[in-house]
Amino acid sequence: MSRAETAPGGAGARREGADQGAAPAREPVEAQEHAEVPEQGRASGGDRERSATAVPRAPRLLWSLGLFRSELVTVFRRWRTLALFAVLAGVPVLVGIAVRIETRDGSSIGGGQNGDGGPAFIQQVSNNGLFLVFTALAATLPFFLPMAIGVVAGDAIAGEASAGTLRYLLVAPAGRSRLLLAKYASVLAFCLAATLVVAVSGLIVGFALFPVGSVTTLSGTTLPLSTGMLRALLIAVLVAGSLVGIAALGLFVSTLTDSGVGAMAATVGLLITVQIVDSIPQLHAVQPYLFPHYWLSFADVLRDPVPWDAIGKNLGLQALYAAVFGSAAWARFTSRDVTA
């Protein structure tokens, strides 16, 4: 006789109710581990006995991917994420409207080259709306985009720690390495999504406000619109790839503290500091090692033929940052005490 049947009536009756919900829940596991158990035996106290004698459930590879999905859902369902997307989507709208107003009388936009020697896409926007995509990406890459990544990456672990949810994820048990990997994957997904938000917003506003046609490259050659669109997509992917480094840096900072706001502020502060150092000519010796140093290399995609070396350097540097700070984050997170 099972213990469940000997339990006092009231408790037993309640448990029956719970069983009906839970019994089908366990069926697949039971079926696989106790294929010999007849159908009836499962629904009654029989499996309870087995759970009490601790049949360990085996982790499954596919099931462990559930955490990655859950991470993505958690990141993208937050109001904060949507607010960041709204700000990012707003940049091309503002630029588009400003250009439109300035060129209303048919004049071309003044001003010439950007102060920092960045690509001067903005003069072309009024001739070709597609250039609004490049302009918007060039405008958001130095600050808006990495700041958004800094917020999300900085909050990734520290935010869970300050809310206390980290301890419940760890006792679930998510596994520290797996949780960190899932966090990094979700931050990278956010990088791509944020970049695409800017690009798509730029595309829509550009096509709505300006004429669209074949693309004149920075080298002076002309590309058909379809090729131009593909290059725009490539640029968006490269911009997202440029954010891999700060994503790893933010995640590392996030493992250092239990304060989500602190980690976000520290990451954004680091970003600003590095951007300043990168713009001081006297510090050129260290500049090739700073993660934003080759960010504007994406403009090379609009040359004909495309010179790949700066783009390659950028991606290599991002990979280096991901490796170094990813390892540091892992070393820290797998050994630290979770006291929050």
Partner: protein
């Protein structure tokens, strides 16, 4: 049948076993040389004043923090090394619930369940629903967790611990913030789970609660284990007190003192005292009172409570040890 074969190895009989477990936080020794043994199938009460190291111990058992010294075994496996195989069989509520305020109660549970690689996603909704019903949150499951009251959050935290059939439940102050009905329900739930063969390890400040549901208990003070054992033995350690209710307390005190009753105390119409080592017949004692003209309205022995045992072990002081 869950009956253990005779002479089963001692290992299987113990669900939590620590040896010399210690934790030092930058200078302060939060837990010191802890040797805890939690028998399988018990409802184990973990008692101690504020700051005595209960939560710190639980964190070490769950692999959240690394012990400074000593070892811990949970479900016969070393922690934190075997966390991956141990923790799916353990449900835990540690230092209050923690929730994602922007997710509904149900989605919170879905997220915690998704973090467990041994949880089958095909049955997730059913298990989440069953856990919500079990803690009485079925109707509020769709509400955002930030709109939950303290007690509702506590219930949701409990539901997270009940997402799977567990071998061990570790509950750090599970009735914190609950209304009286909620407390009753949780006590019922704990008894029910224990009847199913789940070992329940629960820390609490509510001594009568521990006395009502626990079979075993341990008492901590200043990071050290003071005592552990079956609850009946712990409270038996304190002597029963004689209590007399009378409008003539002064006379009663005099008569009782003549019959060897010590530590007499009177408050209003109540006189209490400790019976001597070889106690007189209570009927005779009562007759003596009446014979002396004391109007006895109530007369009886008050059993020593766990609270008396607790205060005797941990001291009367109110201040938290620094």
């Amino acid at each position: 049948m869950r009956a253990q074969p005779a002479g089963a190895e001692a290992r299987g009989e113990v669900v939590i076993e620590t040896r010399g477990l210690a934790k030092r936080y930058r200078g302060t020794l939060a837990v010191d040389g802890l040797d805890l043994r939690v028998p399988r199938g018990s409802v184990f009460g973990f008692l101690g004043p504020n700051g005595s190291g209960k939560t710190t111990t639980i964190r070490m058992l769950m692999g959240l923090i690394e012990p400074t010294a000593g070892t811990a075994r949970v479900l016969d496996q070393p922690m934190p090394r075997s966390a991956r195989s141990v923790l799916p069989r353990v449900g835990a509520l540690i230092e209050g619930p923690a929730l994602y305020g922007f997710l509904s109660g149900r989605d919170n549970l879905v997220r915690y369940d998704a973090a467990d690689p041994t949880a089958d996603p095909r049955t997730r909704r059913a298990r989440v629903g069953a856990a919500l019903d079990r803690v009485g949150l079925g109707a509020a499951a769709g509400k955002k967790a930030k709109q939950y009251s303290l007690g509702m959050k506590q219930r949701l935290g409990l539901a997270a611990a009940l997402l799977q059939p567990r071998d061990l439940l570790v509950l750090d102050e599970p009735t914190n913030g609950l209304d009286p009905q909620g407390m009753r329900e949780i006590r019922g739930l704990v008894r029910e789970l224990a009847a199913d063969g789940t070992t329940v390890f629960l820390s609490s400040h509510l001594l009568d609660e521990i006395e009502q549901v626990c079979t075993h208990a341990a008492v901590m003070a200043r990071g050290r284990l003071i005592t552990q054992g079956p609850v009946a033995e712990l409270s038996a350690g304190t002597r029963s007190r004689l209590a007399v209710t009378t409008p003539d307390p002064a006379d009663a005190v005099r008569v009782l003192a003549d019959h060897g009753v010590t530590a007499l105390a009177e408050s209003g119409q109540r006189v209490t005292g400790e019976l001597p080592a070889d106690p007189p017949d209570l009927a005779e004692l009562n007759a003596a009172l009446v014979a002396a003209g004391v109007r006895v309205r109530g007369f009886g022995l008050e059993r020593g409570t766990l609270e008396d045992a607790f205060v005797a072990l941990t001291g009367e002081g109110f201040d938290v040890a620094g």
